[in-house]
């Protein structure tokens, strides 16, 4: 199940809200070693979890399996206010561009060594579907360069926004990915799953009760 929730919708589901911030702490602080984000309560929360952020969640068996956060580029976001050395010239902004941050797949739901898991591809199918439904067709992502190839394989039109930089042990390159129906179809073919993944909150409150 894939959900797109506003911050206030997420906050009204206390246990789910907690799982989101715990997962983020686990992945980004403990696993990737981004110590700036560390917090003693084990919940990773920052100033971008504001009321216009959209939280994408993949839930499996009542458990949080995957997560990503979409930030509007019409107000401060990571590229413009934190990762400023990742773009050259002017960073692209607009109502049709969101920034995808904190992409995370829970360890139990990862497959293989270097392949993308089914939870991972559900997150991808999810943001493409979500974007196309609301008139967003571009996302900015700061990711490892190896994702560029995967994005191209899924028929995103990719454009680098700057040079790649090294953060800790990781290489990161800011990239804009543009998508359309063809991208969605390619992602669906890849997953061998052709039904929409985006579930609307109202009809799915039961799923959340299970989780809480």
């Amino acid at each position: 199940m894939f959900y797109a929730l506003t911050t206030s919708q997420l906050m009204s589901q206390t246990r789910l809200w907690r799982s989101v911030h715990e997962l983020r702490h686990q992945i980004f602080v403990e696993e990737m070693g981004w110590q700036d984000l560390a917090r003693s309560d084990g919940l990773e929360i920052d100033e971008f979890d504001h009321d216009e952020a959209i939280h994408h969640l993949v839930v499996r068996n009542g458990e949080l399996a995957g997560y990503q956060r979409m930030l509007p580029t019409t107000r401060p976001h990571l590229l413009t206010h934190v990762l400023t050395d990742l773009y050259e010239g002017v960073s692209p902004t607009g109502p049709d561009i969101y920034e995808l941050t904190r992409y995370a797949v829970a360890p139990a739901y990862r497959d293989g060594r270097r392949g993308v898991s089914t939870v991972g591809t559900e997150l991808i199918a999810g943001f493409v579907e979500w974007g196309l439904a609301i008139g967003v067709d571009k996302v900015i992502i700061e990711f490892e360069p190896m994702w560029v190839l995967r994005a191209l394989q899924l028929h995103f039109l990719a454009t680098p926004l700057g040079y790649q930089r090294t953060y800790g042990r990781q290489q990161v390159v800011a990239t804009m990915l543009q998508f359309n129906r063809e991208t969605l179809e390619t992602v669906r073919r890849r997953r061998n799953h052709f039904q929409p993944v985006l579930t609307h909150l109202a009809s799915e409150e039961n799923e959340f009760r299970l989780a809480s």
Binding site: E88, P145, L152, Q153, L154, A158, P160, Y163
Partner: protein, 243 residues
């Protein structure tokens, strides 16, 4: 134009290249400036892959004429220091490091010597990983090369776009190959449809029932992945079934 805009230009040209040969030429036009005038990108065949199968692993080939044939014919892939080094650990490396690792293997030394005859003396290589985790090796070389870390990461980024475009083009090719071939009757019906004949007219010309001619046309349309009859005719022309 600053260097970043220049990089964007190359990437744009690569993403618009209509064939893998063109992708390769565009990429070489970038790397040549750094003394890298030859390149190969492909998946690594398993050890003991039959020689005839090995070339299918090549995605982009910008090697000197004759070198790929010789490389395959001599079954160098399993002992190529670059491939050996790549299998050991991920990340990019210079050919020199790989050669150092294979110093004690006489066959590897032969590969290096032979490559030298094609003016492939120095270069660098790195793996990329596809969606299902398959590594694609990109190896770039030339008579001599000199480059800063910054340029190397720019070359690696542009190469990633080239391999991505190469994969898109080869996927398209495979999708076309998977299409079932048209039968003689289906082709015949399309040929008449192309000159404006109706199903009834086609049935009279071919001496079959109207229902049968309709069925042939529907099958042809499905096999060609066409949205309607006009599209089916266009696809059949493009694929050379009718002219």
């Amino acid at each position: 134009m600053n260097q970043f805009d220049e990089t964007l230009n190359y990437i744009d040209r690569i993403q618009k290249a209509p064939t893998t040969e063109q992708v390769c030429l565009e990429l070489l036009s970038v790397t040549e400036k750094f003394g890298l005038n030859a390149l190969l990108a492909g998946t690594v065949p398993d050890p003991n892959t039959p020689l005839a199968e090995q070339k299918k692993h090549v995605l982009l080939c910008g090697w000197p004429v004759g070198w790929l044939d010789r490389y395959v014919q001599k079954n160098y892939v399993d002992r190529d220091p670059v491939v050996v080094r790549m299998k050991k650990s991920p990340g990019s490396f210079k050919w020199g490091e790989a050669n150092e690792l294979s110093k004690s293997d006489p066959v590897s030394q032969e590969v290096i010597g032979d490559a030298g005859c094609y003016d492939l003396r120095d270069g660098f290589a790195f793996p990329l990983y596809t969606l299902d985790g398959t590594p694609v090796v990109v190896s770039l070389g030339g008579p001599a090369f000199e480059s800063s870390e910054e340029n190397l990461s720019m070359i690696a980024l542009v190469s990633t776009y080239a391999v991505g475009r190469g994969l898109q083009l080869s996927q398209k090719c495979r999708a076309n190959d998977k299409r079932k071939a048209l039968t003689e009757r289906e082709t015949e019906c399309l040929r008449w449809a192309a000159v404006g004949k109706s199903e009834w007219e086609i049935s009279q010309i071919l001496g079959i029932s109207e229902h049968t001619s309709e069925k042939h046309l529907l099958n042809a349309k499905a096999k060609l992945g066409a949205a309607n009859r006009v599209h089916a005719v266009a696809e059949a022309i493009r694929l050379g079934y009718i002219s």
